[in-house]
């Protein structure tokens, strides 16, 4: 059987390593050994960082021995592969960057390492973070640890699978339209997207710059809170990072919801959810009420337009951001007879179908004659969506709704691009409004044709900069319901063999 250390929470590990009853080295060795045993089946990582991890563990043990307190001492960390880490390949899941070695480290990652984290691997993802299943990775397949025939979600699917499979205690994700929250829900995890600008994007390979936000994936709300507290805060290297003091969350967790008004979205109640899933969310809302919250109905009349708005704005921004991949300074180059042919061949060979689709739609939406009809109109719809939330938050403190409309689906189940886009229906409106939002395990359903219960996620969201009450509410719900503990990954059986 595997070492029980791998299942410990980040909070537990850090406590013990700081108390020197456990060393970062022991945790690191146990985690690497476990990764080597299971990752061929799960596929969380594009690269396992044996050397870097052991070197980091030695540094952490030395710092702790010298009397330093590190909030995440010895905590194994999965780094999504769109975040730079000096000297490691950083691919964004793309052939374009398959062999690119990052010459610097992303600020969010650097802060986690400085807080004591051990980088154990670079995690698979949908290419350039475009996708909701990890199936768009050009470099590997990642499976859901709760049912290996299903996807882990995406785009941060590798980090989610890694944390769910105990191949790391926490993971970094990036969320543009749901890419932390949806894989979190699919893998029985807490997935936390902070307010836009709370966590520095320096060193994150850009997808849609007005939406991209880094956040943690963890097995408990407390672990997600510790990770957020470590990675958040102003960074002069990212001019969109918020220049105001970070309100830490881990020391402000709550065990009840008395005095909290929870908004239930009227428009989402009429959605076409499976009855079993609808009942599960209804129960989640009753649980919030049982914790002392007051439920109020709120309206988000334009949330329904979120998907259409997002699928103009995000591709427009990506078509501009990904123009940098031209075969000149780094990454793939395919030679051509002149410079234009070199560009065209490089981008044809380096980008996968979903990335090409989004660049094309974005280029079209920004092109002469269509700019006002598509891009500007989407930006105006974005204003209306944000205003809806502002009105709703006049009568509530937190909004509760689904994180995803279904549990993790099987591979190749969403071959039509739009059916994949629909997976983000509930997470996109918050992204467009820049709001902090978190998904927390809220129960299990056995999908039709499946033989294993799969996790579902409840999404909570709060006004801009209200991470503290948001995380506190998520913690109260988690402690009261304890859904995550009900089943173990299918993986434990594999280890036991």
């Amino acid at each position: 059987m595997s070492n029980p250390l791998i299942e410990r929470s980040a909070a537990h590990l850090a406590r013990e390593v700081n108390a020197r009853t456990l060393s970062a080295r022991e945790v690191t060795d146990a985690t690497l050994e476990h990764i080597d045993a299971v990752d061929a089946q799960v596929g969380s990582y594009l690269a396992v960082l044996h050397g870097e991890a052991r070197a980091a563990a030695a540094r952490v043990d030395a710092r702790v021995a010298a009397g330093e307190y590190l909030p995440l001492a010895g905590v194994p960390l999965s780094v999504k592969d769109n975040m730079c880490l000096t000297g490691t390949r950083t691919t964004a899941g793309s052939k374009m960057l398959e062999h690119w070695v990052a010459p610097y480290t992303a600020s969010a990652v650097a802060r986690l390492l400085n807080a004591g984290c051990i980088p154990v691997g670079k995690a698979n993802m949908d290419e350039f973070a475009m996708g909701s299943s990890c199936e768009n990775s050009a470099l590997g397949v990642t499976r859901n640890p709760y049912d290996l025939s299903r996807v882990p979600g995406g785009s941060s699917g590798g980090s989610a699978a890694a944390v769910a499979a105990y191949e790391a205690a926490i993971g970094t994700g990036s969320d543009t339209g749901g890419s932390i929250r949806e894989p979190g829900a699919f893998c029985n995890l807490v997935g936390f997207k902070p307010t836009y600008g709370r966590v520095s994007r320096y060193g994150l390979i850009a997808f849609a710059s007005s939406l991209d936000q880094i956040g943690p994936l963890a097995r408990t709300v407390e672990d997600a809170a510790l990770a957020y507290d470590a990675m958040g805060g102003h960074d002069p290297m990212d001019s969109t990072s918020i220049d105001r003091p970070l309100e830490t969350t881990a020391t402000h967790l709550r065990s009840d919801l008395s005095g909290v008004r929870v908004g239930i979205v009227k428009e989402f109640a009429t959605s076409k959810l499976d009855p079993e899933i609808d009942a599960l969310y209804a129960q989640a809302y009753r649980d919030l009420e049982a914790l002392g919250a007051t439920l109020v109905e709120v309206e988000l009349p334009t949330a329904d337009f979120g998907l259409a708005t997002y699928y103009l704005i995000a591709p427009a921004e990506c078509s501009s951001n990904l123009a940098r991949f031209d075969g000149v300074r780094y990454g793939l180059r395919v030679e051509g007879s002149d410079v234009n042919e070199m560009y065209e061949r490089t981008r044809a060979a380096g980008f996968g179908p979903e990335v090409k689709r989004r660049i094309l739609i974005g280029t079209y939406a920004l092109s002469s004659g269509y700019y006002d009809a598509y891009y500007v109109r989407a930006q105006k719809a974005r204003t209306l969506i944000a205003a809806d939330f502002e009105r709703a938050f006049a009568s509530c403190d937190v909004i509760a709704c689904p994180a995803a409309s279904s549990p993790a689906f099987q591979f190749n189940a969403k071959s039509d691009p739009y059916s994949m886009y629909l997976m983000d229906f509930y997470t996109i409106p918050m992204s467009l409004a820049g709001l902090p939002a978190i998904s927390i395990p809220c129960g299990w359903v056995t999908p039709a044709g499946g033989d294993r219960p799969m996790p579902m996620g409840l999404q909570l969201c709060a006004p801009l900069f209200n991470e503290r009450p948001l995380v506190a509410a998520a913690h109260a719900y988690e402690q009261h319901t304890r859904h995550a503990e009900k089943y173990k990954p299918a993986l434990t059986e594999m280890i036991g063999r």
């Binding site: 690119w100 070695v101 010459p103 307010t195 600008g197 007005s210 002069p236 969109t240 918020i242 334009t302 337009f305 998907l307 259409a308 708005t309 699928y311 103009l312 078509s319 123009a323 075969g327 000149v328 300074r329 780094y330 990454g331 793939l332 180059r333 030679e335 051509g336 007879s337 002149d338 410079v339 042919e341 070199m342 560009y343 065209e344 061949r345 981008r347 044809a348 090409k356 689709r357 660049i359 094309l360 739609i361 280029t363 079209y364 092109s367 009809a373 598509y374 109109r377 989407a378 930006q379 105006k380 719809a381 974005r382 204003t383 209306l384 944000a386 691009p417 739009y418 467009l432 820049g434």
Partner: protein
């Protein structure tokens, strides 16, 4: 806003992506499908609505004009597909 047929070849030229005939056909159909979905935005009354580019406060960020350390040139050039001395090498851009 109407979902007229996209000239995929023209858009791909703007985006500098070479497409196969098969891709032109497939992407054309898929993008047409997506545009039909986004056409729903036309039903929103946005006549008096301001466009949002950035949702949280943003302002111009400046710093003191002092020299700071940047990435090492050698390290950066090592990642280049082709280099010549201290430069990135590219195919000829200006015709002879």
């Amino acid at each position: 806003m109407s979902s007229e047929k996209i000239d995929v070849r023209y858009v791909a030229k703007l985006a500098r992506i070479a497409l196969t005939d098969d891709e032109v056909e497939r992407f054309g159909a898929q993008l047409g499908d997506l545009l039909e979905h986004v056409d729903s935005l036309a039903t929103l009354d946005t006549a008096s609505v301001a466009a949002t580019a950035q949702v949280v406060e943003s302002r111009n960020v400046e710093r003191e004009d002092v020299v700071t350390q940047c990435l090492d040139r050698e390290v950066v050039l090592e990642a280049a597909p082709q280099r010549q001395g201290g430069f990135f090498r590219v195919p000829r851009i200006i015709a002879e």
